[in-house]
């Protein structure tokens, strides 16, 4: 996976998107809206409109635009692409067990997900800080989660780093789901599309008011909990519950995928 050009083209695409978002945030209307929001709450623009705040905005936008798609694409390919192209048949002519091979593939997916989020986090922070010339204080606003928080620079940096870690954990669901479908007998594109469709369907249903009482069953209701690490104080009980749910979901996805692959015939 890490020897493929496409992997790094992806990193390049993310960089371009982040820089574009950064540029768009400097448009007068965007800036004014941001300023108004801060002013309405008694804060000044310059104090909070620095690298830290902008990088959180950039991360959310980038991940929503490209992150899920890219993770689903990479993880959806990891097994099914090799089966489709025939390299899997070559690999499985060697004395390696299918389970061991899958563990290696899954581990590389996991590493890729974590490094991608780390890359996004670092690039967003560096680009925004260089652009604004200072880190500034952190301001996080997510009305749908009831989140409005401000932190000074040191606390903000710590919250930002921790937030990236939890985002990486949330993102594992996307790569694990695509990985699972990749283990089934299907085209790589199908694994990606099914994963994205499920997540899209999940988001849409979650936001329909009639399903409010079922909210806790929706995957994205839990993946979004990474933003709750910016609450002050953090409701660790709620965050912990969500990540236990995600852990169980991840384990289920991976086990189902592995069992399916270990028991299926390879095309001959």
């Amino acid at each position: 996976m890490f020897a493929r050009k496409r992997t790094y083209i992806g990193y390049g695409a993310f960089f371009v998107v982040q820089v574009t978002i950064l540029g768009l945030l400097q448009l007068p209307a965007a800036r004014e809206s941001f300023e108004q929001l801060l002013k309405d709450n008694g804060y000044g623009l310059d104090e909070f409109y620095g690298g830290l705040t902008l990088s959180v905005v950039m991360i959310v936008a980038t991940f929503m635009l490209l992150g899920a798609l890219y993770l689903a694409l990479v993880a959806g390919d990891i097994i099914s692409k090799e089966v489709e192209e025939g390299t899997m048949r070559m690999v499985l002519a060697r004395p390696i067990s299918r389970l061991r091979l899958l563990v290696i593939k899954w581990a590389s997916c996991t590493v890729y997900t974590v490094t991608l989020i780390a890359f996004l986090g670092v690039v967003a922070l560096v680009a925004a800080t260089l652009y604004r010339g200072y880190l500034g204080k952190l301001f996080v606003f997510a009305p749908e989660e009831g989140l409005f928080a401000v932190f000074d620079t040191a606390e903000g940096l710590w919250r930002y780093a921790r937030g990236m870690l939890f985002l990486a954990l949330s993102a594992q669901v996307i790569s694990n789901m695509a990985f699972m479908f990749s283990c089934f007998r299907m085209k790589p594109a199908a694994a990606t599309i099914i994963t994205l469709s499920i997540l899209f369907f999940d988001v849409v249903l979650r936001n329909i008011p009639y399903f409010e009482s079922y909210k806790r069953f929706f995957i994205t209701n839990h993946t979004v909990k990474w933003t709750h690490t910016f609450f002050d104080p953090v409701a660790w009980h709620t965050v912990g519950q969500s990540y236990i749910y995600l852990l169980a979901l991840n384990a289920t996805l991976v086990i189902v995928g592995m069992v399916r692959f270990c028991t299926r015939d390879l095309k001959v």
Partner: protein, 295 residues
């Protein structure tokens, strides 16, 4: 070396392999022959643990392919019809990756096999730039990497030009002769198989029609004689022929057609024809397919 015992495999309603039992002796060049869809690739797929049999047992060097996969495939190399590699990597890097799925292979060993297959000058080029023949050679290199004792080749001659097929045939013969490798290959290129096989098996619609040493398939004689049934029964009871089918008999080892004629004449039979049937693998194959296994 290889044993398949009563192996069955169904894909939905299609019975791809039917009660297949086969023994591939050590040191042999074993040709698994049959039309497309005869079940050859499925049989080889099961042997490599890539396709799960519905029933039966598959063993390599006495180790069950499914119960002890690492042990069974430890010294097995395989090449498929269209060898596929990671095109964006060099041939060398590909070999390193495939080697990493076996037990550790020293760099010196990779150099050796690269030299053996004649890819030394191009091994650091991207595989995407390789011709089909070069890919086949790289496939052979990866198959030989784990110091293989057994090579399994699934339709290796497909897609090769006549020169490539001749090269492959020579290479198979050389690997068998000089390195003592047991080679099991599936093919429908009968004229090529004819020149290298020591053993053949013929499959049709998942069923095994014939299996044995290729020279065992020789020794057939066309026999026309009065009171044919009586004559054949007598020859069989004397152990002079081992099989008889539709006017053809197979002579016991060491006997010549003239011995048969002499005995029949002495016994008072009127012999019209005793003619050795000269078999090429192609004619043997076609006859076996026609007879449905009674060659």
């Amino acid at each position: 070396m290889i044993e398949l015992e009563h192996v069955n495999k169904r894909f939905g309603k299609q019975h791809a392999v039917v009660d297949l039992s086969l023994v591939v002796p050590e040191g042999s060049v074993f040709g698994l022959l049959g039309h497309n869809g005869a079940g050859k690739s499925t049989a080889l797929g099961m042997l490599l643990g890539q396709v799960f049999p519905d029933s039966g047992a598959l063993r390599i060097e006495g180790r069950d392919v499914f119960a002890d996969r690492p042990g069974a495939l430890r010294r097995v190399g395989a090449i498929f019809e269209s060898p596929v590699f990671y095109n964006y990597l060099s041939g060398w890097r590909n070999l390193c990756i495939f080697a990493s799925y076996s037990h550790p292979v020293p760099r010196r060993r990779i150099d050796e096999v690269v030299e053996l297959v004649g890819l030394t000058g191009r091994i650091h080029d991207r595989v995407g730039a390789y011709s089909h023949g070069m890919r086949q050679r790289l496939a052979l290199a990866q198959a030989l990497l784990p110091d293989s004792k057994l090579l399994i080749l699934d339709e290796p001659a497909d897609g090769l030009d006549p020169e490539g097929i001749a090269e492959l045939r020579d290479l198979i013969a050389r690997l068998n002769r000089e390195m003592g490798l047991t080679i099991l290959f599936s093919s429908h290129h009968l004229s090529e198989a004819d020149q290298v096989c020591t053993h053949v098996a013929v499959m049709r619609q998942g069923r095994l029609l014939h299996s044995g040493a290729w020279h065992d398939a020789h020794g057939w004689v066309e026999l026309q004689v009065d009171r044919a049934d009586e004559a054949v029964a007598q020859l069989q009871s004397l152990g002079m022929v081992t099989e008889a089918v539709d006017g053809r008999v197979r002579l016991s080892e060491g006997l010549e057609p003239a011995d048969l004629t002499e005995h029949l004449v002495r016994s008072g039979f009127r012999v019209s024809t005793v003619k050795p049937i000269k078999l090429t693998l192609e004619s043997f194959y076609l006859k076996t397919i026609d007879d449905g296994g009674a060659a």
